[in-house]
Amino acid sequence: MLHIYNIMLYIYTMESRNIYNRIAVLRKEKLLTRKELADKIGVNFQTIGYLEREEYNPSLDLAFRIGKVFDLPIDIIFSTEPLKPLSQLLNNNKEK
């Protein structure tokens, strides 16, 4: 019984988990339109909007394609925790 409960809890938490991302900031930094980014990663431009608003969690394959376009590792672009600004991240690294 407890096993079933754990599975259900796992599925529930898996489905409700929100993935945060920096796609909007990085896209603007690269001076790309949603359509241009969408063409580069092979999705509909509306999907970029959904990704930027964090209303859709991308697959691992799509996350890697996005990482390739921005030339960044995916853990810099995506996170399960709310993301801090990149400037703050860079300052923290300098202090270390």
């Binding site: 999705v43 509909n44 959904y50 209303e55 697959s59």
Partner: protein
């Protein structure tokens, strides 16, 4: 505010399309019973025009019809997830409705006519797009 308004108008469009489809079947059934009455033909034509207008505005102009009839290869992963979810809901709704309809027809000894079948075919095609129109933000 504009988004909420467009969501509401989409829902009104879906409701109007489905109700006019249902009304066409009901009016035709009444016409079968009372064949001499020309009013039923006039009502049927009006309902059909309402259906055509609301269907064109809600499904054709918004691209929903095209979207739900696109080949799988032309959809990205979010769109595949969206269409498969809508198809799952549509399948459930359609199955329950058709089985209920068949049961009630068997109980009441009524026959299945061409308008009912044509409406069901249209309904089956409209339903996945209706689910998306109703549920999407």
């Amino acid at each position: 505010m504009a988004l909420k308004k467009s969501n509401n108008s989409r829902k009104v469009g879906v409701a109007l399309t489905l109700f006019s489809l249902l009304a066409m079947v009901i009016v035709f059934e009444y016409y079968k019973i009372d064949r001499g009455h020309i009013n039923f033909i006039i009502i049927e034509i009006i309902v059909f025009i309402v259906f055509l207008v609301s269907f064109t505005k809600t499904f054709i102009k918004t691209g929903l019809w095209k979207f739900t009839h696109k080949p799988l290869k032309k959809l990205d992963e979010r769109e595949i997830e969206l269409t498969s979810k809508s198809l799952r809901y549509a399948y459930g709704i359609f199955t329950v409705l058709v089985l209920g309809l068949l049961l009630s027809l068997a109980v009441t000894n009524l026959s299945i006519d061409v308008v009912l079948v044509a409406s069901l075919i249209l309904f089956a095609h409209i339903l996945p797009a209706s689910v998306i129109a109703w549920t999407e933000k």
